[in-house]
Point group: C2
Chain length 158, copies 2
């Protein structure tokens, strides 16, 4: 069993760093501006492996001394999600940083209801099953939402 969730006590600073580096690259290649605000929001999202709500981000920015209003946060989130740097978790109204923003994918999200952590899978079995089901009913896919709630391995066994 390969655990999709990060090990407890892993070097999380490296996650943040590498996510930032990837984000820079993506923005660069898309000629998109990775502004201060966008970087801040992106970094805040990566401060945990949980999904973060817009208002949690707002509070965090406020705590940092910024005077920020909701539209500012939502604009940053819109930018980040459109570039694929961040995904929206529909069933949580919350946002989650993407591991692999450099390649197109249909992601699936495992959400632990105990510890709150989220893990993104890019599982071809699931994607293919969805695509095949769509094809079989003549449906043209534009976007998919696959969110799986339950207990991560750590929480199930401890």
């Amino acid at each position: 069993m390969s655990d999709l969730f990060p090990k407890k006590g892993h070097d999380h600073d490296r996650c943040v760093h590498s996510a930032l580096a990837q984000a820079e690259k993506v923005c660069d290649s898309e000629n998109a501006r990775f502004t201060d605000m966008r970087r801040k929001v992106f970094t805040l999202i990566w401060q945990s492996h949980k999904a973060v709500t817009a208002y949690e981000l707002l509070d965090a920015l406020t705590a940092e001394g910024q005077r920020v209003q909701p539209p500012t946060v939502y604009r940053a989130l819109e930018f980040l999600t459109e570039l694929g740097l961040v995904h929206r978790i529909e069933s949580l109204n919350a946002y989650f940083g993407c591991d692999r923003p450099d390649c197109e994918h249909l992601g699936q999200y495992f959400i632990c209801t105990d510890c709150g952590r989220v893990a993104e899978a890019v599982n071809e079995d699931m994607s293919n099953a969805v695509r095949k089901a769509a094809r079989s009913v003549g449906f043209t896919i534009q976007a998919t939402t696959v969110e799986i709630k339950g207990l991560c391995h750590d929480c199930a066994t401890h």
Copy 2:
């Protein structure tokens, strides 16, 4: 190709009728009260093959002359979703009547972004792919959300 979506111009009254009959049965077998309010909300949801928001239901009830507040609607929705008579579509914040409330299932929802119709599939390929993926990462499933947005066959071809 079997179309999951109902034919245009089908006898929709029959859908509503049969849904009501099924709902009665389910409530009966669960010793749950299918009260006036719950029946009204359920019927309103079945007035279309689209997903309906809580406030659309509120407006519809108001139009019918009832003086109804949000908690009333949300309570009815909670009751109906807990019994499996209605499903919540997370990506729309809206509710959709279930075809087969009598059997446990992991449903998948096709949502047409053109005509707004929703169709529920109970596709074992998809369910199994999700279960298998969860098992492979040691994840214990509690609930799944699978929502597929795109064009239904009618809308794609016309």
